[in-house]
C-alpha cells in the first residue's frame, strides 16, 4: 500500500515537474519575440556603443583608431559635458515634482464621482501628450517669444513692466523649457495616477466613511499608501524620460543660449552629427552617453545603499 502511495506521489511530482517545465517553456516562447527585438534594437546598440566609445571615429569613414579610455577621460575633462550633466539633472528635478504631485492632485479631482465635464478636462490635459513634441517645441518658440502671447498677456495684466526673453535669456530659458515640458507630459502622468486611483477598492472609502474619516484623512491614510507602488513606477518612468529629454530642447532652444539649456542628449547630438570644420566625433559622443549612463547607475546604487542604511538604522 505504501509503495503504491509512494509511486503515485512520484508520478504526481514528475507530472508536476513536467507541467512546470512546459509552463516555463511556453513563457520563454512567448517572451522570445520581445527578447529578439530587444537584442536587435536595444541590446546590440548598447554593446556597439561600448565598442564605439573606445574608438577615435567620426562615424562617416571606414578607418577608426582604438583609443581605449581616452574618450571617457576627455569627456570627464570637458567642463561643457559637466554643464550638460548638471542641466540634465536640473531639468529632471524641475519637471518631476510637477509630474508627480500636480498630476496626482488633478487626478484626485478628476476622479471624484459626479464631477461635471471630467472627461472633457481629462481630454484637454491629455491632448498635448499626443501632439508631436518637436511641433510643440516650434510652436512654443513663438508663444514664449519676446513678442509672443505669454509676454503680451503678462504685460497687459500688469504682471510685467516689460517683456522677458523667456528662451533667449540664459536666466529664464531652462525655466521655460521645464514649464513647457511639464505642460506637455502632465496628461500621461494624470492617466497613470487615474489608473492607480481606480484600482483602490471603493469599500475602503466606504468603511472610512462609516468610521467618520474626513476627506483629508482618507486621502493620506488610504489613497496615498495604496498609490505608493504605482507612484514609484511613475517616478522611475519620469526620471528616465526627463534624463533623456531631447526633442523639446532641440526645437525650443537647441541647447542655448550659450549652453544654458544644453543637456547630455543635445551635447551627444552635437558631437555625433555636427562639426563646423573637420568631421563629427561619434566615438566621443558614444563615450559621453555611456559616461552619463554609468554615472546615473552609480548615483542610483549609492542612493539605494544610503536608503537601506537609513531604513536599517530606523529598524534598530
Amino acid at each position: 500500500m505504501k509503495e503504491i502511495i509512494q509511486t503515485k506521489s512520484k508520478v504526481k511530482i514528475s507530472s508536476k515537474k513536467k507541467t512546470k517545465w512546459k509552463t516555463e517553456l511556453w513563457c520563454w516562447v512567448f517572451l522570445l519575440p520581445t527578447l529578439v527585438l530587444f537584442a536587435m534594437f536595444q541590446g546590440w546598440p548598447i554593446v556597439a556603443s561600448w565598442y564605439y566609445a573606445t574608438l577615435d571615429w567620426s562615424g562617416l569613414t571606414p578607418d577608426s583608431t582604438f583609443v581605449g579610455m581616452d574618450n571617457f577621460i576627455n569627456v570627464a575633462k570637458d567642463p561643457y559635458f559637466w554643464n550638460a550633466f548638471k542641466n540634465s539633472f536640473i531639468f529632471m528635478l524641475g519637471t518631476i515634482p510637477f509630474h508627480l504631485f500636480l498630476a496626482l492632485v488633478l487626478a484626485v479631482i478628476l476622479h471624484k464621482p459626479g464631477l461635471k465635464a471630467a472627461n472633457l478636462f481629462r481630454t484637454f490635459i491629455f491632448l498635448p501628450v499626443v501632439t508631436t513634441t518637436s511641433i510643440v517645441g516650434i510652436i512654443m518658440v513663438f508663444i514664449w517669444g519676446s513678442d509672443g502671447s505669454i509676454n503680451d498677456t503678462l504685460v497687459k495684466i500688469g504682471f510685467l513692466d516689460q517683456s522677458i526673453n523667456w528662451l533667449g535669456d540664459a536666466k529664464w530659458s531652462m525655466f521655460t523649457v521645464i514649464l513647457v515640458s511639464v505642460w506637455k507630459n502632465l496628461g500621461v502622468n494624470l492617466i497613470y495616477w487615474l489608473a492607480g486611483l481606480q484600482s483602490i477598492p471603493q469599500e475602503l472609502y466606504e468603511a472610512a466613511d462609516v468610521d467618520g474619516a474626513t476627506g483629508f484623512r482618507k486621502f493620506f491614510h488610504i489613497t496615498v499608501p495604496l498609490l505608493i507602488p504605482i507612484g514609484t513606477i511613475i517616478l522611475l518612468l519620469n526620471v528616465v524620460n526627463s534624463l533623456k529629454a531631447f526633442d523639446l530642447i532641440k526645437t525650443m532652444t537647441n541647447g542655448g543660449p550659450f549652453f544654458a539649456t544644453d543637456v547630455v542628449s543635445t551635447y551627444i547630438y552635437r558631437y555625433a552629427f555636427t562639426s563646423e570644420m573637420g568631421l563629427p566625433q561619434l566615438g566621443y559622443a558614444s563615450a559621453a552617453g555611456l559616461f552619463f549612463a554609468v554615472t546615473i547607475v552609480i548615483i542610483a546604487v549609492i542612493q539605494a545603499v544610503v536608503t537601506n542604511r537609513i531604513k536599517g538604522g530606523r529598524n534598530i
Binding site: G59, V141, P257
Partner: protein, 495 residues
C-alpha cells in the same frame, strides 16, 4: 441586449478578418501586376537613385527630374531630399550596407581625400568628356578639392561667394529718413542706421534680425567681417592668414563682436533674434520686420517668390571705422556631387550629371535667384533679378579668393579628417555674448585660440602617423596678400 452586442461584435470581427484577407489578396494581386509590368520593363527601365540636402532647389529639381524622365523613359529617378544631419547618418549606413545611392554629395566637413580613401566614389573621367569639363569655370576641377591623383571624383554645387553681404529694406530706410541709395559703409554708420530704423518703426520693425539658433550665422559674419578689418580669418583653415596662428582675440574680431553686442544692447536687434533659426529670420525680414539681415544670395529667390512686394537692396558689409584692412575671403569651389563606387548604372548617372550641369538647367537656378552657377557665362546671361546681379557684383568686388590648404597639399585632407573641432566655437561664443550669458568674451576667445592650436597640432601628428606628408607650413601662406586673389601661380611659388 448583451447577446445583441455579442452578435454585432462577432459580425464586426468576421468583417475585419475578411477585410484583412481581402487586403492581402489585393496587395498580392497588385504585387503580381507590378511584377508583370516590371518583368516587361526590366530590360529597358533602370532606377537611378540620387540623394542630397539641396532643399532650396526642391521645386526646380522636381521639374528637372520630371523632364529628365520624359526625355529618357528608360530611366526612373528616385530622388531623396534630406537635411544635412539626416544625410550624414543615412549615407554612412547606406554605404556600409552596399546600398549607396548612385549619386550623392560629400557630407559637410568631409574632404575628398577621406571619401576616396573610404571607397565612396568612382572616378568620373571615363563617363564625362572634355566638352563637359569645358563648360565650367577655371578652378572647378582642381587636385585636392574635386580631383585626386589626377582623377575627377566630384563636381561642386555652385559658385561659392561670401554669404555675409547685407540685405536692407528700402522702405524702412525711407521711413527712418535714411537714403536707400546710400547705405552705411562703416561700423558706426551701420549701428546708427539700425538704431534709427528701430526708433522710427515704433515696435513694428527693428534695425536688424538674425537666426541665432543657426550658429553658423553668427560665425560667418565674424570670420568675414573681421577679415575686412585685417584678421586674416578665412573658411578654409582654422589659422589666421595674417598671424599664421589660431588668433580669435585680434582687434578686428573684437571690433565686430563689439559692434553686434552694442547693437543688441541698444535694442536694434529684433527681439525674436535669439529664439529663431536662419530661415525664420529670413522670413521675418521678408515680411518687413527688420531693416538689415546678413545673408547669402539664396535668400533673393525666396523673397522674390514669397514676398514680391519687398523693396530691398544689397550692400557690402560695413568696414571698421578705422578703415578697411582686408577683403572678404572668397571660398574655393567645394567638392559636392559624386558617383558611388558601387553604382550599377554609371552611364545613366553620367547622363544625369551632364543634364543637371547643362546651361538649360543651371540657367533656371540662376534665373530663379537660387544660386550662382559654375558654368561659364551663365551668371551674366541668365540672372534677371536686379538684386541677384547686384549681389554678384558686390561680392566679387569686395572679396578675394582665399588660399586653400588642400589645393596646396592634397594630403592635408588627412589632417582635416583627424581635426576635432573645439567647442564652444566662434559662433557659440558670439551667441553667448548676444544672449547676455557672456559679458566679456575675451577669456572664451583665448581658450578657443589655444584649443584650435592644440587640435591642429594633434591632427597633424595623427595625419603624419597615418603616413601623410604634411606639416604646419602647409597652413602658412607667406605670399598671400589680403588685396589679391590667391592664384595657381601663388600655389606653385610656395610648393
Amino acid at each position: 441586449m448583451k447577446k445583441k452586442f455579442k452578435g454585432i461584435g462577432i459580425f464586426l470581427m468576421a468583417l475585419l478578418i475578411l477585410q484583412v484577407f481581402a487586403a492581402c489578396s489585393n496587395s498580392t494581386s497588385s504585387e503580381d501586376d507590378e511584377k508583370t509590368s516590371d518583368s516587361k520593363d526590366t530590360e529597358e527601365r533602370i532606377t537611378l537613385r540620387v540623394m542630397d540636402w539641396a532643399d532650396s532647389e526642391k521645386v526646380y529639381r522636381e521639374q528637372f527630374i520630371e523632364d529628365f524622365e520624359k526625355r529618357h523613359p528608360n530611366i526612373k529617378i528616385e530622388y531623396t531630399l534630406l537635411t544635412s544631419d539626416q544625410f550624414q547618418s543615412t549615407i554612412t549606413t547606406a554605404i556600409k550596407s552596399g546600398d549607396a545611392p548612385d549619386l550623392f554629395p560629400i557630407p559637410p566637413g568631409m574632404k575628398l581625400g577621406t571619401a576616396v580613401a573610404g571607397d565612396w566614389y568612382q572616378p568620373l573621367d571615363e563617363y564625362l568628356d572634355d566638352e563637359f569639363k569645358n563648360r565650367f569655370m577655371d578652378g572647378v576641377f582642381v587636385e585636392g578639392l574635386t580631383m585626386q591623383d589626377g582623377k575627377t571624383y566630384t563636381i561642386p554645387a555652385k559658385l561659392d561667394l561670401p554669404n555675409t553681404l547685407v540685405f536692407y529694406n528700402k522702405q524702412l530706410f525711407r521711413d527712418a529718413g535714411l537714403d536707400p541709395e546710400n547705405p552705411p559703409k562703416t561700423h558706426t554708420e551701420f549701428a546708427e542706421a539700425a538704431k534709427k530704423i528701430t526708433e522710427a518703426s515704433d515696435g513694428n520693425a527693428y534695425g536688424i534680425i538674425e537666426g541665432s539658433k543657426t550658429i553658423v550665422r553668427w560665425k560667418n559674419p565674424i570670420v568675414d567681417w573681421s577679415a575686412l578689418g585685417g584678421s586674416g580669418l578665412n573658411p578654409h583653415s582654422p589659422l589666421s592668414l595674417v598671424s599664421n596662428e589660431a588668433d580669435y582675440t585680434s582687434e578686428p574680431v573684437l571690433e565686430v563682436m563689439n559692434l553686434f553686442q552694442g547693437m543688441m544692447e541698444d535694442g536694434s536687434y529684433h527681439p525674436k533674434t535669439l529664439n529663431i533659426s536662419a530661415p525664420e529670420a529670413r522670413a521675418l525680414f521678408g515680411q518687413g520686420q527688420a531693416g538689415f539681415i546678413i545673408q547669402g544670395e539664396w535668400c533673393i529667390g525666396v523673397w522674390q517668390n514669397e514676398n514680391p512686394e519687398l523693396d530691398f537692396g544689397v550692400m557690402a558689409p560695413p568696414v571698421p571705422d578705422s578703415g578697411q584692412e582686408g577683403f572678404l575671403p572668397r571660398p574655393n569651389f567645394q567638392p559636392w556631387l559624386g558617383m558611388a563606387k558601387t553604382s550599377e548604372h554609371p552611364e545613366a548617372a553620367a547622363l544625369y550629371l551632364k543634364e543637371y550641369y547643362s546651361k538649360d538647367y543651371q540657367s533656371v537656378l540662376v534665373k530663379a535667384g537660387d544660386r550662382f552657377t559654375m558654368l561659364k557665362d551663365v551668371n551674366e546671361t541668365a540672372a534677371e533679378i536686379p538684386q541677384f546681379k547686384q549681389y554678384y557684383d558686390i561680392a566679387m568686388e569686395n572679396s578675394r579668393l582665399a588660399p586653400s590648404v588642400e589645393i596646396r597639399n592634397p594630403e592635408a585632407s588627412v589632417v582635416f579628417g583627424n581635426y576635432k573641432d573645439p567647442q564652444p566655437g566662434l559662433g557659440d561664443i558670439l551667441q553667448g555674448v548676444m544672449a547676455g550669458a557672456l559679458e566679456d568674451p575675451t577669456d572664451q576667445l583665448e581658450m578657443l585660440s589655444e584649443n584650435v592650436n592644440t587640435s591642429l597640432e594633434q591632427a597633424l601628428e595623427a595625419a603624419k602617423a597615418e603616413g601623410a606628408e604634411v606639416s604646419i607650413d602647409d597652413f602658412k601662406f607667406s605670399n598671400w596678400k589680403p588685396n589679391q586673389d590667391y592664384t595657381a601661380e601663388d600655389y606653385e611659388a610656395v610648393r
